[in-house]
Structures are given as C-alpha cells and as structure tokens.
C-alpha cells in the first residue's frame, strides 16, 4: 500500500506530458528514418544486377559473361560508354556504378597469359549514410566480379595452367575509379569511406554534442540565477540591463568559441590522421613478402590525399575557417535561444522541459544529415529542413567540400539574421519586466491536483 503510494508519486513525476511527447517524437523519428534508410539500403544493396560495359570482343570474354548471366544470382545490364569521362558517363546513363572490361582483356589473359585490368567505376553519394552505403555496395559488386573473372574451370578450358591462373588471380587487376559531383579519381570507394564517415557520422555527432552542451550550459546558468533570485539582485544593482545580458552572452560565446576551436583543431587532426593511416597502409603493403605486383595495392591506398583533392574532398584552410564561422553562429543562435528559454524557467523541472524545443531543433537536422543528403531532397522538404538554423551547420562541411558556396553563404546569412532576431528578443526580455512576468512552469494545475511538486510561481 505504502509502496504503491510512493510508486504512484514517482511515476507521476517521471511520466509527464512532456516526457510522453519526447518518447513519441523519438519513436516517430526512428520510424520515419527507418523507412528512408530501408529504401536507401534496398537501392544500394541491390547487387543482383551488374551494370557492365564490355569493350572487349574476344571469345573468352563473351563466354565469361555468358557464365555470369547463366548463374541465377546475377543479371547483367549492358551499357556502352562514349567517353573516358566516367563521372559524366555515369550521370548520362543514370547509373551508380559500372564494371568496364577494356579492349584486349581476353587477349591479355589467354594469349599473353598476363594479368589484365578490369575497371570499376562507382559514384560516391553526397552526405549522409548514403555515402557510406554507396561504398559498401561497391565492395559487393567487386566481390562478384572477382569471383567470376577468376573462374578456374573457364580459364582451364582456355588452356591455362594452374600456375598461369595463380599469376592472374593473385593481384586482382581491378582498377577502381570513384566519381563525385562530376569529378573522377582513380581510387577505390572503400578507401574513401573514412572521409564519408567523417562527413556523415563524426561531424554531425560533434556538432550535436557541442550544441547541446553549450545550450544546456547557458540554460542552467540563467535559470539558476532566476530560481536563486540572484538575477533580481543583479538587475536591481546600478548596472545596465544590457551589460548583464551581454556579459552572459559574451562569456557563453567565448566558451562556445573555445569549444568550436577545439573541435576544428580536432577535425584537422582527424583528417591528417586519416592520411597518415593511408601512408601506413602503403608501408604495410610494401613489407608484404609476396611475389605480387605491388602497384595495384599501392594505387588503392597511396593516393588518398591526391584522390581527395581530385574529388574536391580536401578542405583548404579557408574552408576550415568558414566551417568554424558557421559553427560559431550556430552556437550563438543556440545560446541566445537557450538564454530566452532559460529565463522563462521557474523551477528545475521546467528547465528540463524548456530544453526540448532546442533538443528537437538540433535532433531533426542531426538525424536527417546522418541518413541522407539534404541538398538532394525535394525543394519543399529542403526549405523546411533549412528553416531550422542548425541544419546549415550540419550541411556546411558537405557544401564546402563540394564547393557549393552559394548554399553555404545563404545559410550563413540566414543564421546571422536568425541570431539577430533572437538577440533582439533577448534584449527586449531583459529591458522590460517580461523577465519576471513571463514564466513557464511545468503543468502547475496537475502538480497542485496531485498534491506534490506544487512550486511557487512568481509570488504576488
């Protein structure tokens, strides 16, 4: 009985309307994201059809392909490329990747008994998990190609010895190309996965935590001042209201700047570390005591910095500064909104509830940018998502990497305007008696009814 009474009280305190709203919100968000992810995955992981361009008319190659088609798992969609500009060709044909069997492939293997090259071009997608997934699906296609091209029975039929086969198979002469935004580079998509990871996972996470941390910080600071009534003391002292407000903002901005600076340095080193990792790969490959042709292995790993530059993925110092600027304004917006919301709090519980709008505004673009490319969404949806000022920071990195400066600058201008409005409201709040007459407390009627947690609102 007594336990039941206690439990009822605890549940009433924990399961509030706000708590249920946030639970439902999280669920709906996950369901929607699941749907989006699901269709994206289906598209990406569909490896039952291989898009192939056969430029070799040798008997061997024909038989090889017939064998692939005969197998139940794989269909071949034949295309023909008109030029070597792979990025443009993929775009023209509307395909995500293509396997190219170059002219002389059969001749090279059967007649010269030499390993021959097969080219694999894949298109990297912008932003979000889709980018990472496009590299994953690429590796699946490669596996299929590898197994078919080194089919022992077929090779033996053409009179190749075991030794020849080993020689052909060992260094799988697969040359990979990746295209991004109309640019092509000789690099495997998987080698770029570290970069896409950074774009799609690490940056959003870092931005999310930075924003939440800074917002919570100032919200707690201002609401504590209000609840402890130190704010009343301050505002009745001979200091201007504006200086009280601006001191708070400037201090928060300085700490946010420090946060942003640490984060940018972290990013820079992350990128550096990644390239260092690529160099390690090469030295590991060089140390491998095998009778293999090193060039292919080296090709794949050695030139990550070159490939990133070719694809426009590397960030110049200017981009770092611009990204930092973007981050700064996002933080400033987050802080000013938190300041306004925090000043409305009348008790600790209402602080938690007041965090929700910011939390949601930060979470939506966080999830969206993690799972997909905002820029490739429909215009209406894009505008809605971009109306949330924080979205611009999540996409800034991708936009800067892609050289989409217009979107970047529009975002920055929008953020500055948004910040100005927030500051205007904050100033208004501090210079009138809104600070004391406007209040927000959690469900006071319910608290009174249940008999506990009835907090005293502004006493008259």
């Amino acid at each position: 009985m007594r336990f039941g009474n206690l439990l009822k009280k605890e549940l009433r305190e924990l399961i509030t309307k706000q708590a249920i709203i946030s639970m439902v919100f999280t669920m709906v968000l996950l369901i929607v994201m699941g749907q989006i992810m699901g269709s994206a995955m289906e598209e990406s992981f569909d490896t039952s059809t291989i898009t192939l361009c056969n430029q070799d008319d040798s008997e061997f190659t024909k038989e090889l392909l017939a064998k692939v088609e005969a197998s139940k798992e794989t269909d071949i969609n034949y295309v023909s490329l008109e030029s070597d500009d792979y990025a443009a060709e993929l775009e023209r044909l509307g395909i995500k990747n293509v396997v190219i069997i170059p002219q002389g492939y059969g001749e090279s293997i059967i007649d010269k008994k030499e390993p021959a090259q097969i080219k694999f071009v894949s298109k990297m997608q912008n932003g979000g998990m889709a980018a990472s997934m496009s590299t994953m699906s690429a590796s699946d296609v490669i596996e299929t190609i590898e197994s078919v091209c080194t089919d022992e029975v077929l090779l033996k039929n053409y009179g190749l010895s075991d030794k020849d086969i080993t020689l052909i198979r060992e260094p799988m002469q697969l040359v990979e190309y990746t295209t991004l935004n109309g640019k092509t580079s000789r690099i495997s998509a998987s080698a770029l996965s570290a970069v896409t990871m950074m774009q799609s996972m690490i940056a959003p996470f870092a931005i999310f935590f930075l924003l939440m941390m800074a917002s919570q910080m100032i919200m707690t600071a201002i609401s504590t001042e209000k609840i402890d009534k130190t704010l009343e003391t301050l505002l009745s002292a001979p200091v201007s209201r504006l200086s009280v407000l601006s001191a708070k903002m400037v201090a928060a901005v300085i700490s946010a700047l420090m946060n942003a600076a640490f984060m940018i340095v972290g990013f820079a080193f992350y990128m550096l570390g990644m390239m260092g990792g690529a160099v390690d790969d090469i030295s590991a490959a060089v140390n491998t005591p095998a009778n293999v042709d090193m060039s292919a292995v080296a090709d794949a790993a050695a030139d990550l910095p070159r490939a990133m530059a070719e694809l426009g993925l590397s960030l110049t110092p200017v981009s770092y500064v611009l990204f930092g600027l973007q981050l700064f304004f996002t933080l400033a917006i987050g802080l000013s909104i938190s300041l306004i919301l925090g000043a409305m709090a009348t008790d600790v519980k209402s602080v938690q509830t007041l965090t929700m709008p910011i939390m949601i505004a930060v979470l939506i673009p966080f999830f969206i940018s993690m799972f997909m490319d905002v820029n490739s969404m429909s215009t209406v949806f894009k505008l809605i998502v971009y109306a949330i000022p924080f979205t611009h920071t999540y996409t800034a990195l991708t936009n800067l990497m892609n050289g989409d400066m217009l979107t970047y600058w529009i975002g920055l201008v929008y953020q500055i305007a948004f910040f100005a409005v927030c500051m205007f409201l904050a100033v208004k709040m501090f210079t009138t008696d809104k600070l004391f007459t406007m209040s927000f407390s959690v469900d006071s009627s319910k608290a009174k009814k249940s008999g506990f947690g009835a907090k005293k609102t502004a006493s008259k």
Partner: protein, 248 residues
C-alpha cells in the same frame, strides 16, 4: 526628516489577470526609518517591492527614491537602493568574500570605495573565516547574513528586504533584526521590509502598512494602530484589517 521613498498611487496589473496585484498604493519612508509592509500571502507585498526595486514596471502611479522616479530614472534609483529578495540564494561556486567583492564591484566607482564596502560587509555579516569558503557549503542562516551584509555594505539610502528573516532560526533572526535596527539608528539608513511575522515587525519597525488584496488599508506607528483599534497587539489589528476589511 526628508522622505527617502515616496510611493504615489502605485498600481500593477499582470497580463491575463483580472485583479490588480497592487492597487493605488501610497506611502512614504523617511531617512533612518524602518517601514514594514505586512499582509497575507498574495496581498501585493512583493509586487509593490519589485516595482520600487525597478524590476517590474508599474501599470500606473510612480515612486520616488531619493527624489528619483522609478519610471523615468530607474538607473538613479538603483544607485540609491539595494534589494534583498525573499528566499534568495547566492552564487554557490563563489566564496563568501568573492561574492562581497563581486557585488561591491557593481556599486563602487573606485578601488578605495570597493575596499571600504567589502570591509563593512565583512564586519556586518560576522562570518569571519568562513567567508573564505564556498557559498555552496553555507547554511541558510549564513547565506541570509551574507546577503544582508551585501545589501547594507554599500550604504544605500534605502534597503529593501522581502521577508528578511524568513526560514531562519530564532537566534539568526534575532541577530538580523538587531543588525537592521542598529544600521537604521547609526547609519540613518531607511529600510522597507515585508513580513508575515507580526512579532518581528513589532520589534523591528517604526511604522507599518497593512496590505491586502493589493490595497494598502492602514498605515501608522504600531502603538498608534493598537490604540486606534483598541487591540492588544499587532496581530489582532492585522486580523481585523485583513479578515473584516476594518479601516479605522
């Protein structure tokens, strides 16, 4: 003696509320005088005090602090008052002495004045070495003493204190009452207090105003009021004014 505070028909109506929280409140407080606003919960004490402290703007009426209007010259008013809110806290991560320094820094124009303020604050609060400790570890009584010292160290013309001793034990409350009386007598500071505690008011204040439903019903010296109402004590006067709206 000159009036330090002159309240003239001060009214406040909060948005979305039907009644006035303070309705045409008028009274004055003179130099060296301790004036107490007494009334039940929600009577309009805090609203009146907050208006005089320039924290909220009156709907109509005005108040002059040392001749300055709270509406037209709130900055000048703030230079002449200190305000101690009900149930106020202090910055928990600061030490007591840092808090006094910080607050003195908001009032003092030079280092010399600042040092003078802090020295007085130290003497008034009587916390001694505990001032070096963080406020987070203070008891309620210690925080109240620190805040009171803060409110009087700058020698304001008018110190406004909302429930100066609420929640304190008898010994602490007594000390604070004595402190207020001494400061009024020796430094000629004027005090505007609010309280529910009739005993405290009888002991500490020179004059009282009884407020209920936003209206200031009666103002006068305590003995005078007792005589007027033929009552044995202030509590009886209070009850008759608040419950029966009896105005004599």
């Amino acid at each position: 003696m000159a009036a330090v505070l002159e309240v003239q028909g001060l009214s406040k109506k909060y948005p979305k509320k039907e009644n006035f929280a303070a309705d045409e409140v008028s009274f004055s407080v003179e130099e060296g005088e301790i004036f107490a606003l007494i009334g039940p919960n929600g009577a309009g004490k805090t609203t009146t005090i907050r208006m005089i402290s320039t924290l909220i703007q009156p709907t109509s009426g005005d108040a002059l602090v040392a001749g300055h209007s709270i509406i037209k010259e709130p900055d000048k008013v703030r230079e002449n008052i200190t305000y101690l809110p009900d149930e106020a806290g202090a910055y928990k991560t600061m030490t007591g002495i840092n808090y006094l320094n910080f607050m003195a820094g908001l009032f003092a124009k030079d280092k010399e004045t600042l040092d003078k303020y802090v020295a007085r604050g130290k003497a008034v609060c009587g916390l001694g070495d505990r001032l070096e400790e963080k406020i987070g570890g203070y008891s309620r009584g210690m925080i109240r003493k620190l805040l009171l010292a803060r409110a009087v160290m700058t020698e304001p013309k008018l110190a406004i204190m909302d429930e100066a001793t609420s929640g304190l034990d008898i010994i602490n409350a007594l000390e604070i009452r004595k402190m207020i009386k001494t400061l009024a007598k020796e430094q000629h500071m004027a005090f505007l207090l609010s309280s529910h505690n009739m005993l405290e008011i009888e002991y500490v204040s020179d004059r009282v105003g009884i407020i209920t439903g936003g209206k200031l019903m009666v103002v006068g010296k305590i003995d005078e009021l007792k005589e007027r109402y033929e009552a044995a004590n202030l509590e009886e006067v209070f009850e008759r004014v608040v419950k029966n709206n009896e105005v004599r």
